[in-house]
């Protein structure tokens, strides 16, 4: 009897267990189905961005380190130079290979792109290759080395061959080094670029400096403004915020046009100053660093004011009052009680302004002078004017690395999900 009841009880329990397992399985299944559905909704955008954003940019950036032009067009000499140890001149076989390669490339009409790549490394290489191609005799009457050196003594120089070996690919650090004004010498060790070719350190430094200055000016102007607006009653604060947001919404081109109109030599400000008798001849306020600062601060100031405002809005006035009632002077209360509570806003605003300033292109291009162009200008320049993809890619890698690093800091501090618009 007892044992029978116990057995029945066991059976009942087991079936409950079975039910629980079935239920759990069903739940897990439905959760997984839900996950699949969610992923399926994201998939179209994922594919779209992969095809139109990630892959194009990735492919372009890869051009900064991939180097296959010379190996493709001059294959046998590239292979022959692999066994050259870099001291003295390469073996006769390398000279023979070069002659064969130049002949083949001239026949195929592909010599130009190899010449372009080699010319980046060693100015004059293009002329050397084409002149050599033209002057090669149909039948070699002397050893290949003598023939080539006879055509141009540069073929008897170690530097020429070292440049050729460096361009052999398949990967290169040539462009990345060049973006830092560095290069490799004939011994393959890294040295500084010749002084007349040094431009990029200047450009990188200038980009960082302008961005830092713009951030600092935005903070100095934005902090008091946010402070005053946050202390207003909600209605008036709304109107003032509207004024801050208005430029934020206005087209970048419109704002830039407006600054050109205001600042140019026969512009509104100069005619105002002249008619007031403040100055006797027009001030030069455009196509220089001053104009770049003015226009960039104007564009980026809202990104500083908004996070500061939202942080300050959340600080109860009672804290500063408590500090004052404990005997703190107004400035001490402000500095030791109010400012520390706004640090998060300062950090968020400064990072946001700095990150955006780093990538600025249109504003400096329109209101700055030749000495005020930032890294983006040179990226566009190499991509569209000289079509030097390697250089455009290397500079892009620099800019993108800096941006993403700072963005990671921003993300850690503020969080993407808390990024708000408008």
């Amino acid at each position: 009897m007892l044992t029978g009841a116990a057995a029945a009880g066991h059976a009942a329990l087991a079936s409950v267990d079975d039910d629980a397992i079935t239920l759990r399985r069903a739940l897990r299944k439905s959760r997984r189905r839900e996950q699949w559905r969610a992923a399926a909704l994201v998939l179209p955008l994922f594919v779209f961005l992969a095809a139109c954003f990630v892959v194009p940019i990735g492919a372009m950036l890869a051009r900064g380190v991939i180097d296959t032009d010379v190996a493709r067009i001059l294959p046998t000499v590239t292979a022959a130079l692999k066994s050259w140890n870099g001291s003295g001149l390469p073996a006769e076989s390398a000279y023979q290979a070069l002659i064969a390669d130049i002949r083949a490339a001239r026949g195929a009409g592909t010599l130009a792109s190899a010449a372009t790549r080699l010319n980046y490394d060693e100015p004059g290489f293009r002329t050397l290759l084409f002149a050599t191609g033209r002057q090669l005799p149909d039948e070699l009457t002397a050893p290949a080395r003598e023939t080539l050196i006879g055509i141009d003594p540069k073929w008897g120089e170690r530097d020429t061959w070292a440049a050729m070996r460096r361009a052999g690919g398949p990967v290169t650090d040539f462009y990345l080094l060049a973006a830092l004004d560095l290069q490799r010498d004939a011994d393959n060790s890294i040295t500084g670029a010749p002084p007349e070719q040094r431009v990029f350190r200047d450009v990188l430094g200038r980009t960082l400096w302008i961005s830092a200055m713009v951030t600092l000016i935005c903070l100095l102007l934005g902090y008091p403004v946010a402070y005053v607006i946050a202390a207003q009653p909600p209605g008036r604060a709304g109107v003032l915020l509207f004024l801050v947001l208005l430029p934020f919404w206005t087209s970048l081109l419109v704002r830039t046009v407006a600054w050109v109109v205001l600042l140019q030599k026969e512009g509104v400000l100069n005619s105002l100053f002249m008619s007031l008798g403040l100055v006797h001849e027009p001030l030069k306020m455009i196509y220089n660093r001053f104009a770049v600062y003015v226009a960039m601060v104007h564009v980026l100031l809202p990104f500083m004011v908004l996070p500061l405002y939202s942080v300050m809005r959340g600080i109860p006035p009672s804290y500063v009052r408590a500090a004052s009632s404990l005997g703190a002077k107004p400035f001490t209360a402000f500095r030791r009680v109010f400012v520390p509570q706004t640090l998060a806003g300062i950090g968020a605003g400064c990072l946001m302004v700095f990150i955006q300033a780093l990538g600025y292109y249109i504003t400096p291009a329109l209101v700055g002078g030749a000495e005020d162009q930032m890294i983006s200008y040179f990226i566009a320049f190499y991509a569209s004017r000289t079509v030097n993809w390697g250089m455009a890619a290397a500079l892009s890698i620099m800019l993108l690395t800096a941006t993403l690093l700072l963005y990671a800091v921003y993300n850690r501090m503020v969080g993407v999900d808390r990024m708000r618009l408008g």
């Binding site: 961005l49 372009m60 208005l246």
Partner: protein
Amino acid sequence: MRNPTATLGERLTRIGLIGLTGAVLLFLVAPILTIVPLSFSSGSFFYYPLPGLSLRWYQDFFTSSFWLSSLKNSLIIGISATVLATVLGTMAAIGIWRARFPAQALVLAMLISPMVVPVVIVAVGVYFAFAPLGLTDGYAGLILAHATLGVPFVVITVLATLSAFDRTLLRAAESLGASQITTFRRVMLPLILPGVASGAVFAFAASFDEVVVVLLMAGPAQRTLPRQMFAGINDNISLTIAAAATMLIAISLALMIAVGALQRRSVRMRQAVR
């Protein structure tokens, strides 16, 4: 804020702060305030006082084939890119909100990244990849590129709207027998529509204002309004540019007001549902 016991120093600080704020706000709106009246000038120079009022620069704009075709190009590219970004972005945001799936944080970071990557890199990358495919000859490449730039705005605003959306509403609709599609169309979409619409407005504004991609990729036949202004500043700056700018300001104002209204509406609808 006014305090009768304030010391002289405190009062001076207060006056200084308010003066500085006024100056900064003036700095922010001055360019806009300058350019708008100039567009109504009857003269042909960027000079104050205006010699007289006229609409000749607007007339010039609307009779110039350059400006009109650039306006048309801007609208074609902007609207197509907005539709693409809004549909794809809204779907993706709903997916992310519905369930956690593997590597979700990474996927979200990728969806937001077009907003973070400097636009010149986007432009150069897209140009590099699209040119061999022949996508740079017509509108297609520009529309695709502008859609990628608009996507993050849609994803962020729709996700923000969804974070306040009550999931039980979906279950209620489904338990009453509504299909998934009906539930989406009749329950979810009406509630998140303000968020979707303001995302679309942001995406449109992003495309309408974009000049770097256009500068690199567009041929003379695809010049947009900002591109035409860019050319106008560089070579012969005429007051037509002020008229174009004034109209762009009016459009921005309209978009800004639209987003404000949509956001208020979204809050109201949320309260009505509760």
